[in-house]
């Protein structure tokens, strides 16, 4: 029998187009009774299923070229973020860069200033590692009152990727570092010509000049063809479309490390170079805007991460932080990478407040909101890492609350 007309599948007949990232195909009544489609209809690069609809959502901002999109954290599966759903933050839009015309300059306090083609960088030994990237503005609407309606908006400026690239130290051997080398300016080739100053100690310990993301080239919105990866550092420092590294004896005090990405305290002073992302976690199931159909067994799920090492443990509270118990870690913790945690829960149908807290291997414990605001006030904007509370009402609805 030939493929039935689209009208045979009512759900799809209504929306005539496939979700982003998918292609619409006829849905047979019984897939065992119709020949499936042949290989290579996709011309050799596959797409996701037409039944998968979760997307990055964008912030409501006047200019889409300086804006951001949130990863649908409650919908990703496992510990990797699919590249197509990796969160974004751009300050001058996404440039389209021909890798054949892109070079990386390394100069300043070096013995031989040089430029490197992409092919040259790829010819060097590479490292592949997993780490999260979190925007230091993640969760910034939660300082004063519960604001985000769901976990995509409250915590979705977080994604986890397997990156491949050349260690900065490898490049450093090819240019030579002078003795007073202390800070390095990293500069992007976007319209923002984004610049950040990075301590040389970080660059020499684990920085990658990355060209690979989850098995293929970087996605354009993640910096194609080159991105600086600084495991555990705030996202903005991990310069996309990287074109230049200038070695200096002091920081550059660029816009993004003075006017922005600095943390204002109650006394009016502000913290510079708060580069590492703090221990943090969030429950993704159940979370804001979800509905538990009835009392019973549920598997609480979430992510935990720290820019200061491996996650050591995650605790869960079912009573708004009065009592805590350890959760299961669903994957082996890696440094500066997310872990999935889970916790089997029997919901008795009474109101409950669900929380999680991350403990990293350095011993840092994710603070309560009152602990955090007692030292930082409510106007820091960046680096909000307080414990998130989700209230489950007796009707099963879940919402964002402060306790």
């Amino acid at each position: 029998t030939a493929a039935a007309p689209l009208a045979a599948a009512p759900a799809l007949a209504e929306k005539k187009t496939a979700p982003p990232g998918a292609v619409l195909y006829d849905v047979p009544d019984d897939p065992t009774k119709e020949m499936g489609r042949g290989v290579h209809e996709d011309n050799g690069y596959g797409t996701r299923s037409q039944f998968e609809t979760e997307v990055r959502v964008k912030a409501d901002r006047p200019l889409d070229a300086t804006s951001w999109t949130y990863t649908p954290l409650a919908a990703t599966i496992g510990n990797l973020t699919p590249s197509g759903l990796h969160f974004e933050r751009h300050h001058g839009g996404i440039p389209t860069i021909d890798p054949a015309r892109h070079e990386l300059y390394v100069h300043g306090l070096v013995d031989i200033a040089k430029k490197f083609t992409i092919a040259e960088i790829k010819s060097l030994p590479s490292v592949t590692r997993r780490c999260f990237i979190e925007c230091s503005g993640n969760t910034l609407d939660e300082w004063s009152k519960p604001t985000g309606k769901n976990v995509q908006v409250t915590h979705g400026l977080l994604s986890t990727t397997e990156w491949t690239g050349v260690p900065f130290a490898t490049l450093a051997r090819h240019v030579g570092l002078q003795e007073n080398a202390a800070w390095v300016l990293a500069e992007g080739a976007d319209a923002a010509v984004m610049t950040r100053s990075i301590p040389i100690g970080k660059l020499m310990s684990d920085a990658l000049i990355a060209y690979g993301q989850n098995g293929e080239a970087l996605r354009p919105e993640q910096g194609y063809p080159l991105r600086l990866i600084l495991p555990g550092f705030e996202g903005n420092t991990q310069i996309k479309w990287l074109r230049r590294l200038q070695v200096s004896d002091r920081p550059f005090m660029t816009h993004e490390e003075t006017a922005a990405y600095t943390d204002l305290l109650k006394d009016g002073r502000a913290k510079l170079f708060t580069l590492e992302m703090d221990a943090k976690s969030v429950i993704t199931f159940p979370s804001g805007e979800m509905m538990l159909p009835k009392p019973g067994h549920y598997l609480i799920k979430g992510f935990a991460w720290s820019g200061r090492g491996r996650v050591y443990a995650v605790d869960v509270s079912l009573d708004g932080g009065k009592t805590w118990a350890p959760a299961r870690l669903d994957n082996v913790p890696e440094p500066m990478s997310t872990v999935r945690f889970s916790y089997p829960w029997h919901w008795d149908g009474k109101p409950a407040i669900l929380q999680s807290r991350c403990i990293d291997e350095a011993g840092n414990v994710q603070p309560t909101r009152s602990e955090l605001i007692s030292v930082r006030g409510v106007n820091s904007v960046y680096h909000y890492n307080a414990i998130q509370s989700w209230a489950v009402a007796s009707d099963g609805s879940v919402s964002n609350v402060h306790v």
Binding site: E120, P125, A192, F252, A259, D263, N379
Partner: protein, 170 residues
């Protein structure tokens, strides 16, 4: 595997001259100059539609406020602007030259950037509106909040103070 230092092409300082980054000491500021009066004209043409006639910012256009808010940082409603918040004048020059106007990035000459910087700093009453800004004078500008920042690197140690009032001994 390239096991020696043979990878990469050496570049001359002439080739590197297409790049810039201005540090607080202003050592790498380009030749040129500008005044607030010249800056006011350029601003009206190329900046005001996003940042507002009086540097007040235009929410719908996306351009943030560029002046005001002095003394507000320790209040409940801090207003962070070039005037109230930024620690270094070098950053203003670097940033405008680097990326503004947002809709025509990289289109300004050093003279225009000196002029725009002079205008914004004079509206913020940081420099006199007659001041000629150039590589020599810009590096001497002291920003109102120059001392407002401290190194925040490392973990938040304040999180480790024991709260005396909650201690049972009290």
């Amino acid at each position: 595997g390239n096991t020696d230092a043979s990878v990469g092409t050496p570049v001359s300082s002439e080739e590197l001259a297409k790049f810039f980054a201005i540090q607080p000491d202003g050592a790498t500021l380009p030749p040129g100059q500008g005044t607030a009066a010249a800056g006011r004209e350029i601003y009206a043409q190329r900046c005001a539609h996003c940042h507002g006639e009086h540097l007040e910012g235009i929410k719908e256009a996306g351009g943030p406020v560029l002046a005001g808010g002095r003394g507000s940082l320790a209040t409940d409603r801090p207003l962070k602007s070039v005037e109230s918040y930024w620690p270094h004048a070098s950053t203003l020059f670097d940033y405008i030259w680097r990326t503004m106007p947002f809709d025509q990035p990289g289109s300004l000459t050093p003279d225009e950037v000196y002029a725009l910087s002079a205008y914004i700093l004079s509206v913020g009453k940081i420099i006199d509106d007659k001041q000629v800004l150039d590589a020599k004078t810009l590096r001497k500008v002291v920003m109102p909040n120059a001392k407002g920042f401290f190194d925040g690197s490392g973990p938040e140690l304040d999180m480790y103070r024991i709260n005396q009032s909650a201690s049972p001994a009290k």
